[in-house]
Every structure is written in C-alpha cells, then in structure tokens.
C-alpha cells in the first residue's frame, strides 16, 4: 500500500512532456545568456563560427548521452557519491568525443585545443545532471538536454559569427566584404570575447526591460499603436 503510494507520488513529480521541455533551454533558460553557465568554452573557442559550431555539437553530444545515462542509473547511484559518479560518466563521454574529433578532423582538434577535454568541467552538463537528469525519466531528459544543447550551440554561434564577421570579415570562412574591409582584429583576440558577450547581454537586458515596461504600459502602447495606425 505504502509502496504504491510512494510510486504514485514519484510519477507525479515527473514533468509532463510539452514543447516547453525542449524550448526553454533554447530561450527562457538559455544556459549562456540567462544562467551564465559554461562561460569558458563560450569565450575561448568562439573566434570563428565553425569552431563555435563544432564546440556546440560536441558539448550537446556529451550533454545528451551523459544525462541519458544518469537518468537511467538514477535509482542505482547512491546519493553520497552522486557528483563523483556523474563526473566519471561525463569524463567517459568526453574522452570518446576527444578521440572522435581527433580522428575526424585534426585541424579542428588543433583549433579547439584543450577545450574539448575541458568539456568535462562545463558546469552546464554537471548542473543539468544534478538538477534535472537525476530526477526525471529518460524521454523528458532527452528532450530537455537536447534543448539545452541547442541553446548552448545557439549562444556559441551568436558569439562566433559576430566575432568572425567583425574580426576577419568572413563567416564560416567565406569572405563577406570586398578587399577594402579593415578587420577589427581585437574581436578575434581575447578581449573581443568579453566585449561581444557583454554586448549580447546588454541587448537582452534592454529587450527584457522594454518588455517589462510594455506589459505595465500595455494600455498606452495599444493606444499609441492605434493612433499611429490611424496616422
């Protein structure tokens, strides 16, 4: 009887699968822009769009597979040693990715440097394992990690493309401007990473603030729109 009740309450705690399970990682709880996690790879490998994309895909793979495993093993891992177990699981997948990238493209491997191995200490992955995968069943976890991974890749691409366009005048290696373009070299150097990420955050802050004002002044806005439509 008691057991039944417990299992009932357990299933109650599971999240209902909805589009939100996937989408909130992409926008509302974006790991980079909103939660400010995993900053090191975000700043370090985004000096070109292709590096950013590769890093995003690699991290998403590790996030997805390690969280799936954590979710499957959630009833077997003792609570006291859970962090250590998660780290070992993550490290295993990172080693796999590390060797895979080395085999697929050595150029990419050299460009990303130690940052592939440093996916191990990406707080997003451990954070998701602790906060979500250890409590939810597989389908939810897969969707959620896919969303978070997509959000992370999206953020990396936001930074990578801006920095590559400003810093070298190209995107994914394709020249965008004529030869007269003066590259803004500082953008592909370390300070550029801080500046571009700071600017993105400024933009999002501004949008969020404007949205808040819009809600409080909703009446005004509709009135203004009506008058401008009439004009």
């Amino acid at each position: 009887m008691n057991n039944k009740q417990e299992s009932m309450s357990n299933t109650d705690q599971y999240e209902q699968i909805s589009s939100d399970t996937f989408l909130r990682g992409l926008w509302k709880e974006n790991p980079v822009f909103v939660m400010l996690l995993g900053m090191c790879p975000v700043l370090a490998v985004t000096n070109s769009a292709i590096n950013a994309l590769a890093m995003g895909v690699a991290s998403t793979f590790v996030l997805l597979s390690s969280n799936a495993l954590v979710s499957l093993l959630r009833d077997f891992i003792p609570k006291q040693v859970r962090i250590a177990s998660y780290i070992i699981i993550i490290a295993t997948f990172v080693t796999m990715v590390d060797y895979a990238i080395q085999a697929i493209s050595l150029d990419l491997y050299n460009a990303l440097g130690a940052f592939i191995q440093l996916i191990v200490v990406n707080c997003i992955i451990l954070g998701r394992a602790e906060a979500y995968a250890s409590k939810q069943p597989l389908p939810q976890v897969l969707l959620n990690s896919l969303g978070m991974g997509a959000g992370f890749t999206f953020a990396l691409l936001c930074l990578g493309s801006v920095r590559e366009i400003l810093g070298t005048g190209s995107l994914f290696g394709l020249m965008l401007f004529s030869e007269n373009f003066q590259p803004w070299v500082i953008m592909i150097l370390p300070p550029g990473g801080f500046f571009v990420l700071g600017s993105w955050l400024l933009l999002f802050n501004y949008l969020a603030m404007r949205k808040k004002q819009n809600i409080s002044l909703n009446q005004d806005v509709t009135l203004r729109q009506e008058s401008s439509d009439a004009g």
Binding site: T95, A114, Q117, V120, F195, M209
Partner: protein, 193 residues
Amino acid sequence: MQADSLTYIFLNSAIVNNFVLAMFLGICPFLGVSAKKDTAISMGLAVIFVMLVSSATAYGVNAILMAFNIEYLRLICYIAVIASAVQLVEMTMKKYTPSLFRALGIYLPLITTNCAILGVALFQTSREYNFIQSMVFSLGAGTGFTLALLLMAGLRQQLELAKIPNVSQGAALTLMLAGLLSLAFMGFTGMGA
C-alpha cells in the same frame, strides 16, 4: 630568456598568457567571486593550493598511466584527483577557518569544475614539463588567477559607488570590465612565445 627556464614559465603563465584574461580558464569563479577583495584573495589562495596539490598528483598519475600505456584514462584520473584535492581543502578550511568557509560558500566545492585547474594538469602534460617545471607552472597559473581576481574585485568595489544605467547592471557590466582588463593584459603579448 630560454623557453624552458623556470622564470619564463612562471611569468608566462602568470602574466603574458594569464589563465583568466588571455586563455579564458576559470571564468565562472572569476565572475562569481570577484565582488569583494577579501573573498577574492581567499578564493585565489584556495585555488593556488588546489592547483599545486592536483598538479603534483597529476604528474605522478600521468607517469603511472604512461608506464601501463593507458593514456586514454588520463582525463578520468585527473578529474578524480582534482575532486579529492578540493575535498581536502574544503575539510581543512571547515575545521580551521569556518568564517572563510562560509564566505566562499558554493564556490568552494565548485573549484572542482574550475577549468583552470584541469587546464593546468592538461597543459603540463601536453607541454611535457618535468616535475619542477610543472610545479612552477601551476604556481604561476594560480598567481595569475589570483591577480586577475583581485584586480577585478578592486574595480567592482569602486563601481559600486558609480552611477550606471539600469540596462548595463549585473553580468553585462562585469563582462565589459573584464574585456578592458583583458585589453590591458594584451600589452604583455609578444613578451612570451
């Protein structure tokens, strides 16, 4: 200066290729704990200590792995070494300096996921430093981290008195500051390799 002399290794890892501002390692604690100078110093010291311990242990672990030809286990072993070193520091601090332990809060266990520490272990392996060089390298990296943290904390404490637009409050402003600081450290480029 010779590229493998100890002075060179120290200055290179502390200033020229500063771990935080030039190589983007350890950004999370850099942004998180740099609000006050006191906590910044103690965080820096804790990181230096963990770095030295884990770097020394990682050197030994790597030698063993090489002997058995199982280098693919390197990452897993290193992270386990670092996690235990952090645990050690945490227990010591809790016993001898409880106030500091509370001040550092969540960021103390999070040293485990500080990429600077794993970075030191990985770089010393890939650059094939010997034991003394590894120790100097990790000391330099830790000093560089502390320096960056301290500079940042000083700037942020001054900024508390300044009037800034609402939009730029929080992380955006901190990142812009870090960018300026990183720009300043760019001045050292060319002194290294």
